[in-house]
């Protein structure tokens, strides 16, 4: 990292400090919420004795072996020996780097081991987003020509996601957002002009509103804020069931969810709780090289 990069990192960190102070909570409101939570405890089953609890859970713990993550870990270890180290390094690999093919291969493996359409769609969105991150990272390193393999892979994931869209229409906005971001990044293939030194405020030309509008979203990191405000993937996920297979999980960008008890649900479920499979000791994480 150059000194300039370190300096600008520090500037961003200082800017983040403007968010540190939080106004005091309204005591009545906080207390009311606490009481509501305590009241909700009454709807829980009766407490289970420790002994009985462990007997009941031992069997299900044995059965939920997280087969998919074990499979991936075994394959990695058998192929590469130092599976954990390799997986860790591959996860951050960029196009052109030695471990990048490993990263792509793990993504393909995860897709192959995912069964529900919704989970496959989420994986494709995750991987498409990862391609955008890679492009942005390359740009930050001064590489503005997008490797064709990245373009092809991005298009592949978008096409796959689109093909799964009819039964998962709530993801339409997200797909559009990714396409927009990709188009913006493609447009950045020329090296940006050097920024002018800021002058005195009095020297600044008057800014036309159209110029400001055109500047919006010129960098690929902008997320679609949601052109279609009706599209609320989170809403559909506020379901009564807590079954992760039945819940909208568009934020699950780490782990697939095959829909079984050993579902490595991943932590991305926006409107559901991450389940037990979303944990860092999940062996699938070893292969989660995104």
């Amino acid at each position: 990292m150059t000194r300039a990069q370190k300096t600008s990192d520090e500037v961003i960190k200082n800017l983040l400090e403007t968010l540190r102070d939080v106004p005091s909570r309204l005591e009545d409101e906080a207390q009311e919420r606490r009481v509501a939570f305590l009241d909700s405890l009454e709807k829980l089953p009766e407490p289970v004795s420790p002994h009985r609890f462990w007997r009941l859970n031992l069997r299900s713990a044995f059965l939920s072996l997280r087969l998919r993550t074990l499979t991936i870990a075994v394959i990695l270890v058998s192929l590469f020996g130092g599976g954990t180290y390799t997986a860790n390094a591959a996860q951050t690999a960029l196009p052109g780097e030695g471990l990048y093919p490993v990263k792509i291969w793990v993504e393909q493996l995860r897709t192959a081991l995912t069964f529900s359409d919704q989970d496959k769609l989420r994986l494709h969105l995750e991987f498409a987003s990862e391609r955008l991150d890679e492009i942005a990272e390359l740009e930050s390193r001064g590489i503005f020509e997008i490797p064709q393999e990245v373009v092809d892979d991005f298009n592949h994931h978008i096409q796959e996601a689109n093909s799964l869209l009819p039964s998962n229409a709530e993801y339409g906005t997200e797909i559009k957002g990714l396409i927009t971001k990709f188009d913006e990044l493609e447009g950045d293939e020329e090296e940006p002009e050097e920024l002018e030194e800021p002058g005195d405020a009095a020297d600044q030309p008057e800014i036309d509103q159209d110029d400001i509008d055109e500047e919006d979203d010129e960098d690929g990191s902008f997320q679609e804020a949601g052109e279609d405000k009706d599209d609320a993937p989170g809403e559909s996920s506020t379901q009564e069931t807590n079954d992760p297979d039945e819940q909208d999980d568009e934020h699950r960008d780490q782990n697939p969810s095959p829909g079984s008890d050993d579902d490595d649900g991943g932590s991305g479920g926006s409107s559901r709780e991450p389940d037990e499979t979303d944990e860092p000791d999940n062996e699938e994480d070893q292969a989660n090289d995104d």
Binding site: L19, V22, S40, A87, R272, P274, P280
Partner: protein
Amino acid sequence: MKQEQRLLSDAKRFDRAALAEIYDLYQAELYRYAYRQLGDRQQAEDCVSETFSRFLSALRGGKGPQQHLRAYLYRIAHNWITDQFRRTPPPEVDIELITISNPVPGLEDSAIEKMNAEKVRASLSLLTPDQRQVIMLKYLEGWENDEIAAALDKLVGAVKSLQHRGLAAMKRILMKDVEAGL
């Protein structure tokens, strides 16, 4: 960590006292975490309530974390906040910070800081969910990389990568002012 594990074990047995203790232990920091991103008291309270509601739902369904309870709760909160951004995108804010080179005459320092905080919050909302969570947990919540990895269910290497990309994205969003050397 031992306390957390004990509480989690008891919570899974539906021990009321343990569940109440978990609520009291984490509700304030979750509120701060939510407020820093949402900038709204009511929404922050809703986030806390919904986080614990979903936690209880998970326990009722025989699910929930095996360990790393705190990280698990933060993940729920993060997911809820991300949902909020999708359902109700934050109001458009002129991202350009108020600086020496871009002053707004007549504003007091406290007002400037508040307005810039909104702009920084707006820029955070434009990051990917994972980038935003890493940036928040690292720089505002003070978590170590291994704790963040637990919260995101990722490897530490991926956390570092997200940190770098998140900062780079914020730099691009706020670039003019960063270059001016605030």
